[in-house]
């Protein structure tokens, strides 16, 4: 099956710093989603982005489908950005998401 790898596994940032999280996938995908899991376990949709670039406030994402990777940018990080960021892909129609192992982000004041 398809492999989804995320890096780095852990990241510690000072409040206000910027960061880039990476997701590599081993095969063509129909869709890619980025999620943020907050400390209470809730999984929040950030982007669905099979290709191209999207922005939402301090967050933006870029997927280069031909090179099989996606990047999530967090600018001016805040303590509320802490949690685990997951990348997940759909590799064919009507199949469920396959998740990477996540990047655990800690933003300290």
């Amino acid at each position: 099956g398809i492999q989804v790898e995320q890096s780095p596994p852990d990241l510690i940032l000072q409040e206000g710093a910027n960061s880039t999280l990476r997701c590599n996938f081993s095969d063509s995908v129909n869709n890619l989603q980025w999620f943020h899991q907050n400390p209470w376990g809730q999984l929040i949709n950030l982007f669905y982005i099979p290709s191209g670039t999207k922005q939402n406030g301090r967050l933006s994402a870029t997927t280069v489908a031909t090179e099989r990777y996606s990047l999530l940018y967090i600018s001016s990080s805040q303590t509320t950005d802490s949690g685990v960021y997951f990348c997940a892909v759909v590799y064919s129609g009507n199949t469920p998401l396959v998740f990477g192992k996540g990047t655990r982000l800690s933003v300290i004041a």
């Binding site: 869709n31 376990g41 997951f86 009507n94 469920p96 998740f99």
Partner: protein
């Protein structure tokens, strides 16, 4: 996006007992999925539940341990049977995104602790 609720939000159970988790969606959806997230780990798919058919289980998960019902297009249940401490996890249901192909939205999860 869909609005998804789960009950219970958390529970503490004794080994050997069973717990049924409910997932309710605010509108009709074709596909519902159940995931397990063990402590410190990523999400692993347990099964896909389509209305009117038997659930499809992933490798390593069996119906006797995780029976699933899907009586209509807005509701599903997952039962964790004969629980052991290894079943302590967050269980999440998700649904396919309406209007946006191949997307999924997740419920708030059920945090289960087995003693």
């Amino acid at each position: 996006s869909a609005v998804i609720s789960q009950k219970p939000s958390r529970d503490i159970c004794q080994r050997g007992t069973s717990l049924t988790i409910q997932c309710q969606v605010d509108s009709q959806v074709t596909m519902m999925f159940w995931y397990r997230q063990q402590p410190g780990q990523s999400l692993t798919l347990i099964a896909t539940a389509n209305q009117g058919s038997e659930a499809t289980y992933e490798s390593g998960f069996v119906i006797d341990k995780f029976p699933i019902s899907r009586p209509n297009l807005t509701f599903s249940t997952l039962t964790v049977s004969n629980m052991s401490p290894e079943d302590s996890s967050i269980y999440l249901c998700s649904v396919d995104g309406r209007g946006v192909a191949d997307t999924q939205y997740f419920g708030p999860g059920t945090r289960l602790t087995v003693l």
